[in-house]
Amino acid sequence: MALVVDKTVKYLNVPDANNFTFQCSKPMSQLTADDVKSADFWVGFTSFAHNQMCEGNVESGLPQNDPDHCWCWATDSSALYEGDWSTAHWSFPANYPTGIYMRNILVECAAAHNQNVSLQNNASARIIMNIEAGEDTKLQDLYISGSSYVTCPYSNENRVTDYRYIKPAVLLIVNDVLYVWIQSFAPYMTGFFCNSTTSQGYRSTQSFDDFSKLANHYLGLGWTRALQTGDMYTDSGSTTSVNFNYTVPDVDFNGVTADLNVSLGSANYNKRASVSIIDNEDKEIEKWYTAFTGFKFKVDDVWYKPIVEGGIVTGYTDDMTVTSEWDEWDNITGHNVPVTPPVPPAPTGDNIDDMNMNALWAMSSDAGFARYFLLSHDQLASLMTWLSDTTFPDGYDPYAYILSLLQFPLKLSPNWCMPRTPAGHIVIGGEDTGITASLISNEKAWVGAGTYDVPQLNGNFLDYDPYTQYELYIPCCGWVSLPDIVCGRKIAVKINYDLTTAAIIGNVYVEIDGKQMIVASKSGMMGRETIVTGEAQGVRSAQITSALLSAGTGALNVATGAISGNAVAAVSGGYNIVAGLAQANIAANSAYTRTIGSTGGRALLCQFDQCYLKICTTRADIPNNYGHTCGYVCNLNGKVSAFTGYTVFDNVDVSGIGKATDREKKVIKQILESGVIINPTE
């Protein structure tokens, strides 16, 4: 059933909160997952102790239990005291719209609770509300969720019968920000506590840092605002309200543990009010926005309503004429309950690898002897400068140790899944260049190039082969045909990169039943080879040194030849001097150019940098009377009486028509199989 929003009915008007009672369809121990799923919404009461409301009458003027639309239960009947929720009466108008109005139902529950409840033995009273969409409601259309309202337990030693200890608490998630707001009209309000259970207290002597640690521990998030001095109220006996308003960024319900409780603590009575975050782990909804911004409730026969400003409860008032966004039913900010749920944004694609494709690329690789460094433009310039240095050791040829240089049209940032080591110096052939760069520890990198929900343009068989073809352009790879199984499904494009060659392969995945299936691949290039060239100064200097050594040897021979009177040796030495100096001169003036690689083409990089899905489809031309003249294709079995209008049956067995002759049966069969018009019986 679809979610029905009737703007004319703001909330369930309970004439008398005292007479508004409940009936539990079953205890929680008997609750099944199907029960929850089949309910349009549900309300749960956990571990309520004695409550006179259970004994209340049913003269609320409301229709009796409507199990088709709502129900509730007591979670632990054994914990009930002097009354059993299961005997209480729950009622809803039969025609009451589902779902969104639960806000006020809960308000009235709270009000009734205020008037009658008394608790004992640390029983925590908790009302959890959730709003469920009907089966046919698309969850993405529903921007409504429940919040929690919690009341305050107490210890036996400090029995409390004053309703003022009931503390409303509100969770909001708006634009991925979780707002926790807690208010207490009770005295002895001394702390703010966050725990996975409800059994611990938090004292005012603890700093917000401690709380923050707890919150971070259970939420895994940073709280943006520290508890401030004014937030803490330690004076007993006062009924001054205390507001806490905390903001946790970047969280949605899915990111918060289901059993998280945020509690209020009291140094005096160990009272706590807790906020339970609804477990929605089995829901597929991506973002939940709470429908609650506060509750109207009753204290000492005075009604209070929340003052909502900008979607946040900023206080309460007993003056119902005070303006509050709470009063504006169609104020999305105030209630987060849009009359018309916001249209889900049109798919625009994204760069989020939400198909967890990383797991598919777990294979590592080893570059062997080679090492690959990631360089920025500036780092490359530094390396060029280093290569042109003339102080290399004689004979050292750095170019002999360079394998390749590739230029990429990308800044290979951490967005790219590219394992690398922390920055260190580039070492070439044993010589430390002194240039800092990351050593790539895996030759492969990948990046998600986007995801997209492939539309069904026709919504029928024409969306499939041979009537429709799907093609996808992958950047730097080109066009690839996709099978028609992508129709109506999410596809994701992932580009895998070979960092040693700039070769890429674009893989297209489709998500089917939550699993990824690769449906197409296309290879390409996303980078180019670049020439490394320069003078091998170390080789030159080695040549010069060698020549000069030769000349030096000749000079020595000249000298020793002259001393010893060995003219031949002296002449030979003289020759060596000339030859050595000549070679040194040649070496000094020769080119020791080294060239590595070649100039790679840039044409492949001059391409569209987005994915592009092309759907070429066939449209049908279906006349208005197609159903009556041809009949829409179906494949349904049943009695003939189950169909009306023009119908064609297949392989009809007419043997069951007893008194008809064989000829008549053949006639009947022929008519049924060629097309019969079935008028409904009157």
């Binding site: 940032s413 343009l457 449209r619 179906c634 003939v640 009486s641 064609v648 049956f649 392989n651």
Partner: protein, 148 residues
């Protein structure tokens, strides 16, 4: 034999035909052997304002296929049985497999339908999505150097 005459507005392939009674308890005289499937009878009736009839003795409905006025307030008619209407209760109770139906809500849209006329001129739709991350600006390329 006793006839009931009708004016039927439904086509022959209609189950549960719409018909208006013209006259009932019409007597008829057989002329020779009567073929139950295609009877020819002389009715004590003098009008031609009917096209459908029911013969009580045969428990069958008939299409009137020919009518000829005879002297003496009589009409000679020929009929052909309509088993679809005659045995409609049994027909309606048949277990069948429907492959086409007029109700669009019963349309199995993902079963190919060769009768649907398709437009030869195809439509092409394009959708951009995704974006290569970190595309470098001029002078901002990345380099990878391989060394040993």
């Amino acid at each position: 034999m006793t006839f009931t005459l009708y004016n039927c507005t439904s086509a022959s392939n209609v189950l549960n035909k719409k018909m208006t009674k013209v006259q009932d308890n019409i007597n008829a005289t057989a002329k020779g052997i009567i073929d139950v499937d295609r009877p020819a009878l002389l009715l004590d009736y003098s009008s031609v304002d009917f096209n459908y009839m029911f013969i009580q003795e045969f428990s069958r409905y008939y299409f009137v296929t020919s009518r000829a006025l005879m002297p003496g307030e009589h009409i000679m008619i020929s009929g052909e049985s309509d088993p679809l209407e005659s045995f409609k209760a049994g027909v309606r109770d048949l277990d069948v497999l429907a492959v086409r139906n007029e109700d669009i809500n019963k349309w199995s849209k993902f079963i190919s339908d060769p009768l649907i006329v398709t437009v030869c001129k195809r439509e092409t739709h394009g959708y951009k999505f995704g974006q290569m991350q970190d595309v470098a600006a001029a002078g901002d390329s990345s380099y990878i150097i391989g060394v040993i």
